[in-house]
């Protein structure tokens, strides 16, 4: 079985927020909720990098561990999902999550938390695949249609990738090899190497192995 993961390449992300918009549109998430966000470090100064963050679908998910009603489950594809019929909106998953993925619409009285909403890896919820009920609660179920999450599919620079961890690792490895090729060939710093193809090499460094 596949083990689905996201991978965001900080050397490629241009902070266009296309992934955020794609997610919001595809899943019709509630007001005030953004399942994905792009965080920029060193904004406006040399060394600026951006990363797109959402639920990382942890193998040992802290949200699932602390949930008082045990509403989380991991699918066969390694996607961490939750059941909104069980969720009570206590906020514990939000405290435990390292990435700030769980979001809460201000549904209750005095803007208290409603039922939690988070990235589903475009895999819906426990309801029947692509049913109206599933879409209303969790948004799109692209995985059931054999498609990958729209955020990654929309990414114009292919900074954000989604898919099986082994495949992503291989892509990442090749990218690193190409960047390293530039460093080895020209002796330029890594940061500069990322922006140009290794012109001194014939073909891609990763294809020379």
């Amino acid at each position: 079985m596949a083990r689905m993961k996201f991978y965001c390449d900080a050397e490629r992300c241009i902070e266009c927020n296309g992934c955020v918009t794609a997610c919001k549109n595809e899943n019709e998430v509630p007001w005030g909720v953004n399942r994905r966000r792009v965080v920029t470090i060193k904004d406006g100064v040399p060394g600026e990098r951006s990363l797109s963050v959402a639920c990382m679908h942890c193998s040992d998910a802290p949200c699932a561990a602390v949930c008082p009603v045990d509403c989380f489950y991991t699918t066969d594809d390694g996607v961490v999902l939750h059941d909104k019929d069980i969720c009570i909106g206590c906020g514990y998953c939000f405290y435990a999550c390292p990435f700030g993925a769980p979001q809460f619409p201000a549904d209750g009285a005095f803007a208290t938390r409603g039922k939690m909403d988070k990235c589903t890896f475009c895999a819906g919820g426990p309801e029947a695949d692509n049913s109206a009920e599933e879409f209303r609660k969790y948004g799109s179920n692209r995985l059931a249609e054999g498609k990958l999450p729209l955020c990654a599919e929309m990414c114009s620079t292919k900074a954000l990738l989604a898919g099986d961890a082994d495949v992503l690792s291989e892509i990442y490895r090749k990218r690193i090899v190409n960047r390293a090729g530039r460093v080895l060939q020209r002796g330029v710093p890594y940061q500069n190497a990322t922006l140009r193809s290794p012109s001194g090499l014939k073909g891609k460094a990763s294809s020379l192995e």
């Binding site: 927020n17 953004n34 700030g100 690193i176």
Partner: protein, 382 residues
């Protein structure tokens, strides 16, 4: 009135129980984490190679820090753990923080410490109270019930007592449901049914929680003068409130144990209430760390109160003859007052506040002579 010495003693025993108790789940969860599938960092081997081949460094080139890519980025992320240094178009509290490592510490606190030990502590306290009852039995009025009464609590005092009592019991039960339900109730009733219960518990807890702050304030202002420590309280403490030996220790309207419980309730309960307000309104601009810390404070103080109040309920009801009458009827037995609050009883007697059973019943609104209510004193203790 009750003598909270049982609490002091039982707290010690409880501590023993907690220390000796084995921890389930601790080992299991550690195993779970290790079972997480290992994802090899695809860049590691390569960069080791790059660093090897870069020796000696090329002239005029500043080698990347540590030779690894993204070090600067990761140093920034490390820094952003302390305060959100990133910027993002998604405007909400903490949204600029990439990684919040405090969450995992909070997870460990809740899952490996709070849930198991909290559960043991509450169960242990119940067990201790039962054991205490079996060993010591009910504390009787040694001189026997009299036909004289002393006015102890006014209607207003009884009202705010039962007000806070009702709120506290409700909050304790709903809070414990959310704390222990996953371990205890889901295996029994299933996740669906428990979700209904937990959802109702959470809503009720959130709704009535802020009222606890109000009730606490009412209790504080009404009873604070009688709860100031005075000469003689130390003696009471040193003699274990009469638990050591058979003699009674003199005390005023409230004894040292009751005063301590009052201050515990005000201080610890105050922390519980304030941290609860921080948790219940997530729109005040507080971040995850603040909320997780509030949860820690909330859980520890609430459990402390629950343990103490279990002792309070015991000694105020089945644990001592004549103790509950003051809080239900407003009047207490003269002999009970003499035995447990003799300074106060003496003062009342000197002031001529002693009345007969008949007068007490009349003051409560019962018709004098009505046989239904006109039971001999002592049988009304329940």
């Amino acid at each position: 009135m009750y003598r909270p010495v049982s609490r002091t003693a039982s707290s010690l025993l409880l501590l023993l129980v907690v220390i000796l108790a084995p921890v389930p789940g601790g080992g299991a969860s550690a195993n779970n984490r290790e079972e997480g599938i290992q994802v090899p960092n695809p860049g590691t081997d390569l960069w080791r190679e790059v660093r090897k081949r870069q020796q000696p460094p090329l002239a005029g080139v500043k080698p990347p820090l540590n030779g690894a890519p993204g070090v600067d980025l990761w140093m920034e992320i490390e820094r952003s753990k302390l305060s959100p240094v990133g910027s993002t178009q998604v405007k909400s509290v903490d949204s600029g923080t990439l990684i919040n490592p405090f969450g995992d510490e909070w997870r460990r606190f809740r899952m490996e410490w709070l849930v198991p030990y909290g559960g043991y502590a509450v169960a242990g306290m119940f067990l201790l109270v039962v054991l205490f009852y079996l060993i010591r039995g009910r504390v009787p009025i040694h001189a026997g019930p009299s036909d004289k009464r002393l006015p102890r609590y006014t209607v207003y005092e009884r009202m705010i007592h039962w007000f806070i009592a009702a709120i506290f019991l409700f909050l304790a039960l709903t809070g414990l449901t959310m704390l222990l339900g996953r371990s205890l109730l889901i295996p029994l009733i299933g996740a669906e049914a428990f979700s209904l219960l937990a959802s109702a518990s959470k809503e009720g807890h959130n709704l009535f929680g802020p009222l606890f702050l109000l009730a606490l304030a009412l209790i504080f202002f009404r009873f604070v003068r009688r709860n100031i420590y005075q000469r003689g309280d130390l003696t009471w403490l040193l003699r274990g409130g009469g638990l050591i030996g058979s003699r009674h220790v003199p005390s005023n309207f409230f004894n040292m144990g009751e005063k301590s419980m009052f201050w515990m309730l005000v201080l610890v309960g105050g922390v519980t209430a304030v941290s609860g307000v921080i948790l219940v309104f997530p729109v005040l601009g507080q971040g995850r760390e603040i909320m997780a810390l509030s949860h820690v404070a909330h859980a520890i103080t609430a459990l402390t109160m629950i343990l103490v109040i279990i002792g309070h309920i015991y000694i105020g009801s089945v644990g001592m003859e004549g103790a509950i009458e003051g809080m239900t009827t407003g009047y207490c037995d003269l002999n009970w007052a003499r035995e447990h609050h003799d300074w106060w009883a003496e003062r009342c007697e000197n002031n001529g506040e002693v009345i007969t059973v008949e007068e007490a019943f009349e003051a409560e609104g019962f018709t004098p002579g009505a046989p239904k209510h006109h039971r001999p004193a002592g049988e009304t203790a329940e």
